[in-house]
C-alpha cells in the first residue's frame, strides 16, 4: 500500500488546487449573464448556423485513426518500465506487436486515409 502513497498525494494536491480555482472563480467573479453573451462568438458577427447535424466524414476518419494509434502507444509505457526484466523475449514480442499495428498504419497511409481530399 505504501508505494501508492505518492500517487494519492499527487491526486489530492491536483484536486484541491483545481477545485480551489474553480470555486474561487465562480464565487468571487461577478456574473451578469445576457442574451448576447450566451451566443457563440463568431468574430463579432451573428453566426449563420450552429454546426449541428452531419459533419464531414473526413473528421471522423482522422479522429478514429488518431485514437487507434494513440492507444497503441499506451501499451509501450508499461513495457518500457519492465523492459529490463523481460530479457530478449520481451523485445521480440513487442516488435511483433508493433509490426502488426504498423502494417495497419501503412495500409491506411497507402489508401490515402491521411490525405484530406
Amino acid at each position: 500500500m505504501s508505494e501508492y502513497i505518492g500517487i494519492v498525494i499527487f491526486f489530492v494536491l491536483t484536486g484541491t488546487v483545481t477545485g480551489a480555482f474553480i470555486v474561487l472563480a465562480s464565487v468571487l467573479g461577478p456574473k451578469k449573464p445576457s442574451a448576447v453573451k450566451s451566443e457563440a462568438f463568431e468574430c463579432g458577427e451573428v453566426p449563420f448556423s450552429l454546426p449541428i447535424g452531419h459533419v464531414s466524414v473526413k473528421f471522423y476518419l482522422t479522429a478514429i485513426l488518431f485514437i487507434l494509434f494513440d492507444v497503441e502507444l499506451v501499451f509501450l509505457y508499461p513495457w518500457a518500465v519492465v523492459y529490463r526484466g523481460l530479457g530478449p523475449s520481451g523485445l521480440v514480442e513487442m516488435v511483433i506487436f508493433l509490426g502488426i499495428l504498423m502494417a495497419g498504419f501503412f495500409y491506411a497511409w497507402d489508401n490515402g486515409a491521411l490525405e484530406w481530399h
Partner: protein, 452 residues
C-alpha cells in the same frame, strides 16, 4: 429486425451540408478587419465572399475640404505602415500638376525616406504573418528591427508613424546632423535581424509546408486583376514602377527587382525578404551620392533677435533695425535659412519662406501670409494629373483634379492592395481552412489604404 435484409432504397449517400462560417472582422488569427464568408466542405474552402469597408474613413471626401498641404496628414494614414511613400506620392503628383521640380538633394532625401518606409512595411508584413503561423519570436525580432528604423524616421521627421514630413514643393526640413552614421548603424542592425529571421524561417519545415503551394495565382490572373507590387513579382512578372516609370532619382541608383516563379505565399515571402535587402542597398547608395547639405550663405547685417526687431519696428524706431538681420530660435520649425535652397522648389507661391525672412523682411512676411491664410494657400492651375509611385504593396497612384482654388477638387488614390483583395476569392478557393491565415497574411492588407 433482420439486419441481413436491408431496405430496398439504395444505400443513402452520406449527406454532408456545407457550413457557412464567418472569418469575420475581428478574427483571432488575422491582423486586418475584413469579413470573409466562407462556405466550407469539412476543411475545404468551397466558396468565399469578401466584404470590406470596415475602415472606410472618407479620405477622398476629407481631401476636398482642406487645402493642398492640409491633405498630407491624411495621406500618411492611408498605408500607415509605410507613411512616407504615400506622402511622397501625393506631393510628387501635386508638383507634376504645378509643373515644378524639387532640387537634387530633396530628391535623394525623398528616396531615402521612401526606402526606409518600405523596409518597415515589409518587416511588419512578414513579421505579422509569421506570428500568425506561430513563429512569435520572428515577430519580436522584426518589430525590434522596425524600432531601429522608426527611431531613424523620428530623428528626421519628428514622429514615428504619422510623419507628415513631405510638403508640396519639397520636404519639411533637411536631414539632421549625424544622420549618416546613425542610418548606417540602423541598417546594419536590420541586416542582422533579417539574417536571423531568414535562418529561422526560410528552411523551417512547418513554415515551408504551410506557405508553399497555398494562395497560388497565375501571372495572367494577377495582371487581369490589376495586381502590382511584390504580389505580381512573385508570379514572375517583373513590373516595378521605380524601374519602368522611374521618378525622383531612382534611375541613377542600381538595384535589382526580385522575381518569383510559382506565385504562392512562399514566393511572396522570399520576394519581400529580398526587396528589403535591395532597399537597404538603395539607401546606402543614396547616402553616398547625396549632394552636400546646408551651406552657410554669406549674410550681411548685424544679427538681432527677430522678436526684438518686430518690437522696434512696431514703435517706429527704424534707426535701431536698419541694416540689421533677424535671427530666430534655431529650434523653430522652418528656421535655418541655409537649408532652404536644398529642400524647396524655389517657387514662392508654393513653399513657406524661412522663418528668418518671415520675421526679417516684408517680402517673407507677405509670402507667409499668402500661403497660410484661409482661402489663399497654394493655388495650382486648373487641371488633372495621375502620378504613380511604387508603394509597398504595388503601384500607388494619385489622380488629382484641381479647379484653381486652394483646395483640391478631387483626390483619388489608386490603392495597390485593393486589387489584391479583389483576387482573394481566387486565392482561397480550393485551399484548406488553415491556409486562409497565411494567404491573408501575405496579401498584406492595410485597412487605411484598402478602404481609404
Amino acid at each position: 429486425m433482420d439486419l441481413a435484409q436491408t431496405p430496398e432504397s439504395p444505400p443513402r449517400e452520406p449527406e454532408t451540408r456545407e457550413m457557412l462560417l464567418n472569418v469575420g472582422p475581428a478574427h483571432p488569427a488575422m491582423h486586418g478587419i475584413i469579413r470573409i464568408v466562407t462556405k466550407l466542405d469539412g476543411e475545404q474552402v468551397v466558396d468565399t465572399e469578401v466584404e470590406i469597408g470596415y475602415l472606410h474613413r472618407g479620405f477622398e471626401k476629407m481631401a476636398e475640404t482642406v487645402d493642398y498641404n492640409g491633405v498630407i496628414p491624411y495621406t500618411d494614414r492611408l498605408n500607415y505602415v509605410s507613411p512616407l511613400i504615400n506622402n511622397m506620392g501625393y506631393c510628387m503628383a501635386v508638383e507634376k500638376l504645378l509643373g515644378i521640380s524639387v532640387p537634387e538633394r530633396c530628391h535623394y532625401i525623398r528616396v531615402i525616406a521612401s526606402e526606409i518606409s518600405r523596409i518597415t512595411d515589409h518587416l511588419t508584413c512578414v513579421g505579422a504573418s509569421a506570428m500568425e503561423l506561430g513563429a512569435f519570436s520572428v515577430f519580436l525580432y522584426m518589430i525590434k528591427a522596425r524600432e531601429y528604423l522608426w527611431e531613424l524616421v523620428e530623428m528626421v521627421t519628428g514622429a514615428r508613424l504619422t510623419v507628415s514630413y513631405c510638403r508640396v514643393g519639397g520636404v519639411k526640413a533637411d536631414l539632421p546632423g549625424g544622420f549618416d552614421e546613425r542610418c548606417r548603424k540602423a541598417l546594419q542592425e536590420t541586416r542582422k535581424v533579417l539574417a536571423e529571421s531568414d535562418a529561422l524561417l526560410t528552411h523551417n519545415r512547418i513554415f515551408v509546408d504551410r506557405m508553399s503551394g497555398t494562395g497560388k495565382i497565375s501571372s495572367e490572373d494577377a495582371i487581369s486583376y490589376g495586381i502590382t507590387g511584390p504580389f505580381l513579382r512573385a508570379t514572375g512578372v517583373d513590373y516595378d514602377v521605380r524601374k519602368d516609370c522611374p521618378y525622383a532619382v531612382y534611375d541613377r541608383l542600381q538595384f535589382d527587382v526580385p522575381v518569383g516563379t510559382r506565385g504562392d505565399n512562399y514566393d511572396r515571402y522570399l520576394v519581400r525578404m529580398e526587396e528589403m535587402e535591395q532597399s537597404i542597398r538603395i539607401v546606402e547608395q543614396a547616402l553616398r551620392d547625396i549632394p552636400p547639405g546646408p551651406f552657410l550663405a554669406h549674410e550681411t547685417g548685424r544679427p538681432i533677435p527677430a522678436a526684438e526687431m518686430v518690437d522696434e519696428g512696431k514703435i517706429g524706431n527704424i534707426t535701431a533695425i536698419v541694416g540689421a538681420r533677424a535671427v530666430t530660435d534655431p529650434t523653430l520649425e522652418g528656421a535655418a535659412k541655409s537649408q532652404h535652397p536644398n529642400i524647396e522648389a524655389g517657387e514662392k507661391r508654393v513653399f513657406l519662406p524661412a522663418k528668418e525672412d518671415t520675421y526679417g523682411n516684408i517680402e517673407g512676411l507677405m509670402q507667409q501670409f499668402k500661403l497660410v491664410m484661409y482661402g489663399h494657400g497654394i493655388r495650382p492651375p486648373k487641371g488633372e494629373v495621375y502620378f504613380p509611385v511604387e508603394g509597398a504593396n504595388g503601384e500607388l497612384g494619385f489622380y488629382i483634379v484641381s479647379d484653381g482654388t486652394s483646395s483640391p477638387y478631387r483626390v483619388r488614390v489608386r490603392p495597390p492592395c485593393f486589387a489584391i483583395m479583389s483576387a482573394l476569392p481566387k486565392l482561397l478557393i480550393g485551399d484548406m481552412m488553415a491556409d486562409v491565415t497565411p494567404t491573408f497574411g501575405s496579401v498584406n492588407m492595410i485597412g487605411g489604404e484598402l478602404d481609404r
